[in-house]
Chain length 348, copies 4
């Protein structure tokens, strides 16, 4: 009953198998080998166009390099106030890009276009004192398990385009979001106006496979240098390519995301049915937020359930009562129905 | 006959096996899991004391974070003029540390203590205009396949200590150097006054396993934040721990380094015996530099040998004649005697 | 009737006279000359102890270097959400320090200790993901013309000390605040637990004279290099020393601040007495915020009054009605009673 | 007999007078006032075209912002190995631009085009490991008092253009060089292919007046933000404009540079005529380098002469004998013939 995070799971057997298989033989280093090229072509296929793609080992690296690629002096990138880039990356995006991150409000973990427009408006063109807008970044799926609908992405994109700002998507849980939306890589990104994607594999069954995808090669021009200067160019980069090769083959990535989403749905149902717990809000992916009696939470932990308490967002409606606690439960490719059902039993 | 680089090899089967074995089950993320702790203890053992150890995915990251941990404003780190940090890392050490790298001369790829002292002396204390000395970094084995002897490390260390500068060792080929010296981890580092080690596994049979080792935990105090801010903290960090677990078990690392060193010796013998080639200088590890007739080099490449031309160092004695070329040949754990012997045949 | 900003005024005649007088003769450069030393001694006198003092040319430089001197990797500095460092310095503090600025709420332009404590608590020790607290910075006088009382500074200081964080004071309008409090340099700073002061002269009659003052010389150890690396060490630095010499002589600085504060009081009285305007909030220094009928504001501008519209703070009580506007009026050493009275007439 | 540096002189009376005259009245801040605009127009006139010009307070700031404006990730700027940017700015150019400075050899303090081409060639396009060329910067007049002739600038410019690199000129002693060449601002810069100029006034009679000049406004697009983020935008920026107004009026700047150059010539003649001293090399501007018997140097200092010992450049021909010393003597607008003649007497 490990629901702490999807990164507590290891790697899917197909990933291990691919790593073992590609471990033999010699291959050109630093991303120039045959397997790298082949997997890059796979990215072209899934995004239905030629993309510039760069492999890195962490989602934070993908986000940071992505934002660095569109940086300006005194620049500001706009993100939701609960976004991973501003909450959980220890300033890496700022370190790589020298941008400031400006938090934007919005319900359900998603920026509202109005709040975004208002924040951008605080930085009038050529008024050097405040700095200048440089980028917008959204998290899909969000940190609280929700997803931006196609329309919602488009609405954010419209504001970004209106202000001439590139739009980045932190897709650490890209597959979970896409499956939840029943969308495609292109439909959820470039067709909606997204310019740069951090395409995550790690949380969905890889060891450490993240791809930074650009739809405009010109925008990506400095990325090889940004990545290398950030010490994120692997010499034996085929070990990332191998992970992606297996991940993207025969729809494994969709299958794994489908599984973890389904496990989360099963969990949500159990919580909704429980008298000792309720859903904090509706998510569509593999993160579930619940409000439990503190005694129930403690009892579950005693019985072996692992999960994190979660800070109560400002202005939360129907938040936890004094004797209640807000918790986060994350499912993964490795979560079993048995785990869910055992946890459901604990909720009574 | 792939002699381009040791990073053209993949991963040793024991590494793949460990990754597969540790892929199952859940484990605490971000370096806090049991396997991480266990491998950290192994580092204590091989260095014969408690060390602070941080896993990262690239040697450039280890070097950059190591230097960043001892950075000062306007600071300068001293390295050999052919060092990897100054030649091949795209400014990553400077990016992470905001230090300048000052090149120091010295024969055989190694800083001479006199040249080091002279360079440091150019930065008088409290003279803000030039900047201030901040660190010394040596590469062991060096970029040209030589190694610092124990005495040579101690001589550099003495200069560093005299100037109150921490001493870092870029050990991307740590094992090759140690085996060549018939030394031990502690004898080659902390016993000689080295403060920080980039302990490389990647070039010697891992996929991507580098450890940044500090002998003084106080010096390492900010490293967790430097690593995370650099986007170099892996969530599923056990995949690095697993590599090191296999690498350090039963002396595998020494065996692999011993093999690649032996293959390089065999290669050096073949070159010394050839009438069409000669050794550019004497190395002791797995990098061999040879001067060939350009026609011989071309013919070898046509027959399938792969290696890189190498820039002729300034002031090289007995350097290549106009019809000759300087090449680098690197062996690895995956190099076979057959490869060496086939190449020897090409040299006639 | 120029009320746009105190930096629209030029320099006081005593400043010009000092610059002219000290322009002759040769003097050691880069802050090592006799006049520099002499003015440093004056700072010791006014702060009643030995301080480390560094001259720079802009308040933004003083703030940025001050924060850089206490920076940590992944560090966060806490400031009021309307502070100059976060609103009006184009990211300079972040650029110099690589710190993030975290906004803290609080009424009347001042951080509340509770809000500060709550913000700091979001960065638990050794939890690398969020970053680590590094400093607290307050603005005295604040951006909206209020001042922290001695007790209020002490309350902020108590939180900072509790968390082992250095406390910086942005004193761009130090003199205005000190005169308003009827305090002394030491009482308003080091006696309250402030560690670093940006001591501003520019807005109070100098051309460009700012001093960065440290009470603990150890904390200032790297500042000479931070300042030089930031290109903020003047060769002919006596031109700043000369400004301060005149500024601090015979209480000129207090006289000028007293004058601008008095002009602001006269302005506040006129506004309070007007039927077409009201005070937005109570300030004690040389910045006055008023709510006017938009038509009144426009008419005043037409008659030659110059001032800025000001953004309405979130959650402002008794804010402007739809036909009203919030404006800022700043007085300076150069403001005359006549200007105030002419403006008062415009308000009717 | 102060020959330490031209920045030991204060300000010319005309500069003081202008500062005093412009100290009264109100004026728009942050470079937007009438005087700023008027002086910007003067720059257009002296460069015979519309230029983008930015005032800053130090030469290091001008150089650093200039290089930052053309920075690239992993980028390298090429400068002479004795250039001020690499020797005397404490890493400020690297700090602002995140570029590395690569030293280039060349006689007489000037880069040789061949050495420049060779250095650039070490950074092949798209080879991320070494980094990428980003800019070339020359110092005019050089650090050792020589000047690049028109042809020499053009030769450097040709290499820069061939490699698509912008060419920056550090003109801390712009006027001294221009007068020595009997050139004009345009002829010495844009007509030769220079893209960016740090136009110095400080060393030639101003307090602190430096202008960063761009011939291509597009190249300057980010400079307002780079300057502000570097804390180098003065609020009362008219105090710099006022200095330049006086400096550029009626050819004062040429007169002052002519004077200091003439004083240096007089000094060179005295040294050439002396039996106890000889010229280290031929300079054309206001820096004179001489080799004296150490006893002569000591005696001169005892009699009140002030100058700096200078490090002997590597490979210097006819350098100092063991009982000799290399010294630098700098003249300025404030140097008198009497000073020169008294010093000449000391040389016997």
């Amino acid at each position: 009953m490990i629901f702490t995070s999807d990164n507590w799971a290891g790697a899917h057997p197909a990933i291990s198998e691919a790593l073992t298989r590609h471990a033999t033989g010699f291959s050109a280093a630093y991303g120039t080998g045959d397997l790298d090229r082949q997997v890059e072509a796979t990215f072209n296929q899934i995004f239905e166009r030629e993309v510039a793609v760069f492999f890195v080992g962490t989602g934070t690296a993908a986000n940071s390099i992505g934002l660095a690629s569109v940086a300006k002096p005194g620049g500001v990138a706009f993100c939701h106030n609960q976004a991973h880039v501003i909450e959980d990356e220890c300033g890496a995006p700022e370190f790589f890009s020298q941008l400031r991150l400006a938090p934007v409000d919005g319900p359900a973990g998603k920026m509202s276009p109005e709040a975004l427009r208002a924040q951008i408006a605080r930085y009038p063109a050529q008024f050097v004192h405040h700095g200048q807008p440089a980028a917008v970044t959204i998290t899909q799926a969000t940190e609280i398990g929700t997803v931006y609908s196609h329309d919602e992405i488009e609405a954010i994109s419209a504001v970004a385009k209106e202000k001439n700002l590139p739009l980045h998507m932190d897709g650490a849980r890209f597959a979970n979001a896409m499956v939840a939306l029943n969308s495609t890589p292109a439909k959820m990104t470039v067709d909606r106006g997204v310019d740069i994607v951090s395409f995550g594999g790690t949380k969905n069954g890889c060891w450490c496979a993240e791809a930074l995808v650009f739809f405009d090669p010109e925008m990506a021009r400095q990325v090889p240098f940004i990545r290398k200067r950030g010490a994120h160019l692997f010499s034996k980069s085929r070990f990332i390519a191998a992970q992606f090769a297996a991940y993207l083959e025969n729809g494994l990535w969709l299958e794994l995301a489908g599984h973890s989403n389904a496990m989360a749905s099963r969990l949500r149902e159990a919580i909704a049915a429980s008298s000792k717990a309720r859903l904090a809000w509706n998510g569509q992916t593999n993160e579930v937020f619940a409000i439990l009696k503190a005694t129930t939470a403690a009892a579950a932990q005693e019985k072996g359930a692992r999960f994190y308490d979660w800070p109560v967002p400002k202005g939360m409606e129907n938040g936890p009562a004094p004797d209640e606690t807000l918790i986060r439960l994350v499912t993964s490719f490795a979560t079993s129905e048995t785990d869910i059902d055992r946890f459901a039993d604990l909720l009574g």
